[in-house]
Symmetry: C2
Subunit: 215 residues, 2 copies
DNA sequence: CTGCAACCGTACCGTACGGTACGCCATCCG
DNA sequence: CGGATGGCGTACCGTACGGTACGGTTGCAG
């Protein structure tokens, strides 16, 4: 994963990370009303330093999103001992991780910021979030799906389609509703149902792609 | 709720609709860089008129989104002659409509604008888009699902869950990727696959919830 | 014709914010 | 101790944009 390397090389000093934390906090609190002055004040640094370190406002925004998005961790899955039980556990793990991540305030903020950014010609942030979100999941999940197919646990013609179906079954309309600020979907509300949703999504996925169910 | 009523009563004169069209065009072209001056120039009207008609920038934005979002039309479905074939056709119709709508530039723009708006404390636009998007679909689809259940064509315990599964199977990761500006997902690219995706999603939904498949 | 209302075009104001400049202090090195 | 570097705080500049004011024009009613 080229991006992870890039992120790792782009190493920020602790002081810089403090600044990025301040920026992220402001982003989460204040929506995208992120001003350089506010970040400087929050981080107790001068604007001049911000510009020196990050170039301009976009640079600061990009650094913040990049740094934060890279923190998303995918679950590790042992591909060597794949049986139906292990597969189910792995899928549930992925589903749980995906759901828990994208209902978090940080994820919502990052996605909103990136989408706002993409509304202009700029697609930097969009790509960063994509790369560390949906596409990262895809990269991690696909090999497992394919391994499961090789082990005759799953059946599908396109692992791409299988992945996307899994994504859809897990996420459903939760993300878009959260992004749009649906007040009927409080975070705690959703969080309480994560386990049930994870189980349902996994069951449904296995019903659709499990070897037995898909002759 | 007050909002839906407001939409129906809030009837715009042709001149006002021309202004809203100009605003929407600018929104689509220019991202959310919508300025009052630009709208006035595009619509050949004075800023004073804009403020007189719409109050302030937010009012104009709200009117634009409201007016446009209300144009989304749901397919009509005959609930009285439900058999498995009619149900499948209806579901495909819904899926096609949903997909075609949300991959359109207008929908993407509206959603982006609403999400940007929701990033601030404001959730006006978010609710409008929600109300005319996902929630409108839900309102239309749920009765059909329940009728199909009554006709023993579908089996599920919660029509809410069934609806959300359908949504997930149809939309998958398409919307979020488009909103984030994924360059790998051109509109024509997606559009070409709509029919296949519609069929797949419907098949999968019926496999999960069809009476035969779900004993 | 006259008055009036609506509306266009434009000039104008105030503010917020991105970006820069500068003075001051702390730490470090010779 | 003295110069230099890095960084804080603040003041400042320019611009873009939301919002207002005003003069000019059209169309209509009496």
């Amino acid at each position: 994963m080229a991006l992870a390397i890039k992120v790792n090389e782009e190493t920020f000093t602790p002081r810089q990370q403090a600044v990025l934390t301040a920026a992220l906090d402001l982003l989460v609190e204040n929506g995208d009303g992120l001003t350089m002055t506010a970040v400087a004040r929050r981080a107790s640094c001068s604007k001049e330093t911000l510009y020196k370190w990050f170039g301009d406002r976009d640079g600061l925004l990009t650094a913040t999103v990049q740094w934060q998005a890279a923190k998303v961790r995918m679950p590790y899955v042992d591909r060597t001992h794949l049986n139906i039980k292990a597969l189910r556990t792995s899928l549930e793990q992925f589903a749980r991780d995906l759901l828990m991540t994208l209902i978090g305030e940080v994820s919502i903020t990052l996605n909103r910021t990136a989408i706002t950014h993409a509304a202009q010609e700029k697609d930097d942030l969009g790509n960063i979030v994509l790369e560390n979100g949906p596409l990262a999941i895809r990269r991690r999940l696909k090999p497992i799906l394919e391994a499961a197919r090789d082990a005759r646990l799953l059946r599908f013609s396109s692992s791409e389609d299988a992945y996307r179906t899994f994504f859809g079954l897990v996420v459903r309309d939760v993300q878009i509703r959260l992004l749009l600020g649906d007040k009927a979907l409080t975070q705690s509300n959703v969080e309480a149902n994560v386990e049930a949703d994870v189980k349902t999504a996994t069951d449904q996925f296995l019903a659709l792609y499990g070897a037995k169910a898909n002759p």
